[in-house]
Symmetry: C2
Subunit: 379 residues, 2 copies
C-alpha cells in the first residue's frame, strides 16, 4: 500500500529535493554553503515579494513565530491578534508565554477579519503589533493582507504575519502589502522537510528591533541573524542538509515559474473543494476567502471525522488531518500544497468516496470525480 502524505503539512517532499538533502554535509562556514544560503535568499525574496534580507533559523514554524515577538515586544507592550483559528490562538499563547499582553480581535472560525473591525479596534488603544495568520490552516481561511496592511501601515504598530502554510502556495507581496515581519517554514508549500524557519523583516520593524535592544533573546536575535546573512552565513550552526533541500525546492519552483505554481494550487484546491462538496461534505470556510493550500471539509451532523481520517489511513495509506481544537470531530483537512498534481486530487476523492460509503454515509457514486473533472476542465 502506498503511503500518501496528504496533510496540511508536513507535505510530500519530491525525490529530487530528498536527494539534494542527502548530499554529503559541507562546512557550514565555507564558500559552498554560503552560496546555498545566498541562493535560498534570492529564491525566497521572489516568493515573499520582498527586497529584505531573509533570515534562516534551525527551528520549526512555532520557533520563528516566537522570534517575531521576542525581537519586537517587551513586557507591557500590547499586541493585537486577529483570532480566527488555532494558529492565531497559538500565536497568542506564545505571547503569553513570553509575558506579553495578548489582546484578541475575535473572528468566527472559518471567516477572516473585516478590515473595518480592525480599524475600529486600532482606534481604541495603542498597539505595538498586529498579528495576522495569512492562511489559517485549521479552518482554511485566507486573510486579506493587502487590506490589513493598508490599515496598519499608517499606525506605529508592526504587522506580523504567519504565512507558514501559505508561502509558496498563495500569493505573498510582503513589501507591497506593508508586512513588517513575515514568518514561514520549510515543510508546507515549499516542499521541504520541517526544520527550517524563515523570516523577513521590514525597515519599519528593523527600526524597532535596533532601538529596543534589551529584549530577552539570543538564539532568536534577528540582529545577529541579519549581520551574518550579509555574508551568506547564519548566526549559529545552520541545518545544512535542510538548506540543500530548500535550495533545490526553490529551483523547482523557479523552473515551474511562481505564477504557474500559484495557479496550480488554485486549480487543485478548487477541484478538491468541488469534489468534497459533491460528496456531501461542504467546505467549512466561508467563500470567497477559501485557501488554495488547505481544504477543510465539514462532516454531516452526527458523524465523527476521526473515523474518516482513520479509515483513509488504514485502508488507503492516505494521511489527512482532523482537528486538534474545538473543531475536533467535525472537519477533515487536506493539504493542497507543494508537490501535488491532478492525480493526487483524483485519488483523494476516490478514496474519500469509498470511505464515506464504507462508513454508511450517503454518496452518489462518481459524483465527486465528475465534479473535480468539471472544475479542472474550467480552470
Amino acid at each position: 500500500m502506498t503511503y500518501r502524505l496528504r496533510l496540511p503539512g508536513p507535505t510530500t517532499v519530491p525525490e529530487r529535493v530528498r536527494n539534494a538533502m542527502a548530499q554529503p554535509v559541507v562546512n557550514h562556514r565555507g564558500p559552498e554553503f554560503s552560496a546555498i544560503v545566498k541562493e535560498i535568499e534570492t529564491g525566497l525574496q521572489n516568493i515573499m515579494g520582498t527586497a529584505n534580507p531573509v533570515l534562516l533559523f534551525a527551528a520549526s514554524g512555532t520557533g520563528v513565530m516566537e522570534a517575531s515577538l521576542a525581537n519586537t515586544l517587551g513586557p507591557g507592550d500590547k499586541a493585537l491578534f486577529i483570532a480566527n483559528g488555532q494558529f492565531a490562538d497559538r500565536f497568542a499563547a506564545i505571547a503569553e508565554g513570553l509575558g506579553l499582553q495578548a489582546n484578541l480581535l475575535d473572528v468566527p472560525w472559518g471567516d477572516a477579519v473585516d478590515p473595518k473591525a480592525l480599524s475600529a479596534r486600532l482606534a481604541e488603544a495603542d498597539y505595538q503589533a498586529v498579528i495576522a495568520i495569512h492562511n489559517e490552516s485549521s479552518t482554511g481561511a485566507v486573510a486579506d493582507l493587502e487590506a490589513i496592511g493598508a490599515i496598519v501601515r499608517d499606525t506605529p504598530a508592526l504587522l506580523i504575519v504567519d504565512s507558514v502554510s501559505g508561502l509558496g502556495g498563495i500569493e505573498m507581496q510582503q513589501d507591497r502589502w506593508g508586512i513588517d515581519i513575515l514568518v514561514s517554514a520549510s515543510q508546507k508549500a515549499l516542499m521541504c522537510p520541517p526544520g527550517l524557519g524563515l523570516v523577513s523583516v521590514s525597515e519599519k520593524a528593523w527600526k524597532i528591533i535596533d532601538v529596543n535592544a534589551p529584549r530577552t533573546r539570543f538564539y532568536w536575535d534577528f540582529r545577529t541573524a541579519r549581520d551574518n546573512a550579509v555574508d551568506g552565513q547564519t548566526a549559529f550552526t545552520p541545518a545544512v542538509s535542510l538548506g540543500f533541500a530548500l535550495c533545490e525546492a526553490l529551483r523547482m519552483i523557479d523552473e515551474e515559474g511562481l505564477p504557474n505554481v500559484l495557479a496550480r494550487h488554485a486549480r487543485l484546491a478548487a477541484a478538491l473543494q468541488a469534489g468534497g462538496t459533491a460528496l456531501g461534505l461542504p467546505v467549512f470556510t466561508r467563500s470567497p476567502i477559501r485557501s488554495n493550500t488547505v481544504t477543510v471539509l465539514q462532516m454531516p451532523d452526527g458523524h465523527d471525522s476521526g473515523t474518516i481520517v482513520r479509515h483513509l489511513y488504514e485502508q488507503y495509506g492516505t494521511v489527512i488531518a482532523g482537528a486538534r481544537n474545538k473543531l475536533q470531530g467535525t472537519v477533515v483537512r487536506f493539504g493542497t500544497m507543494g508537490y501535488i498534481d491532478e492525480a493526487d486530487i483524483l485519488l483523494d476523492l476516490m478514496y474519500l468516496e469509498r470511505t464515506l460509503d464504507a462508513l454508511g454515509l450517503p454518496v452518489t457514486p462518481g459524483a465527486a470525480l465528475a465534479a473535480a473533472q468539471e472544475s479542472l476542465r474550467g480552470s
Copy 2:
C-alpha cells in the same frame, strides 16, 4: 579532489544515515514517526547514561543551551559559568541575552576547572545553577564532570552541562554523575547533520522547572516537550528527516557497541595528537584532560594557523578549523569524532606535513605518520 570534512563539527555523515534521511517524509503525529522518536530516546538514553525522558528540539545546539537557562532561571537568579573557552563564553552570553546574571569562574583556556576552586566559589554565594562545558571544542579540554557533579549535587544549584561536542565520542554518565540538564546536538559525534537539539532533565531540575512556571518560554518549554515525549511526540512540528537520520546513526552506534565507539575515538585522537606533536605542533590542551573528539594543535610562534587552514582546503580539500576567538591564528583544530577511521587520521597527517613543508615550516619527513602508526599499534 575529494572534499574532506574534518571540522570539530558539523562532521561527516555516513551514506547510510544520509539515505535514511532521504526517505519520504511521514506524518509527524503518526505511528511511524512516534516509533522513530521512541527509538531515538532509547538510543540516546544509553549514550547519555540516563533514565530521563529525552527531549528533541528542531534547533541547533545554541538553541537548547538557551532552553536550559530559559526553563530554570529567571531575572535575579545567579548562574556560575565555568569559563575555560569559547563555548563557555557563549553560554554566558546567552544568559546575559536572557537578562540573567552570569558569573564567571575563570579558568585558563586549554585547562579545566580545579574542583576545589569550584567548591570555594560555591561557598561564597548562592547560585541557582552551575554551567559546565563537557568538551570545550575551542580548546580540546574535557571537564571532570564526575568531580563537578559530586560538588554541585549537595547544593541547591542545578548542574547544566553542554555536551554538544562530547556526546557519543566521550563517556557520559548523566545520572551517575549528577548532571541535571544535559544538552547536546546531532551534528558532532552522533554523525548526523545539524538541526536537532537534544536535552535530558533530572528529577532535581524538573522540580525547579515545574515550580518556576512563569518563566518566559514557549518554544523551549521543557514541560510541553516532556508531556509530548510520553507518546513519542514533540511539542511542535519535529524535523522529521533529521529524526530518520538520528535514528539510523544511533543504530550504527548500537551495532558497533558504545564502548567500542568510545575506544575508537580515544585511539584515533591519540594518534592524531601524536602525529601533530611529531610535526612540531604540540597539543594545545593540558594533559591529561585532552579531548577525544577535538584535537587542538598549537602553531610555532610567528606562524598564522589561518594559512594552514587555507592550504589544506585549497590543496587537499580538507576542511579543518582555526579559531574565531582569542586563539585566532595560533591553533588549528581537527574533529576526531563520529564517522572516522584510521584512514582519516593518516590522511590528515600526510596532508598536514605537506602543508607545513609547503609553507616553509621545518618537518621531519614521515615522522608524523610514524608516530601515529606507533600510537595506533599500542592502543
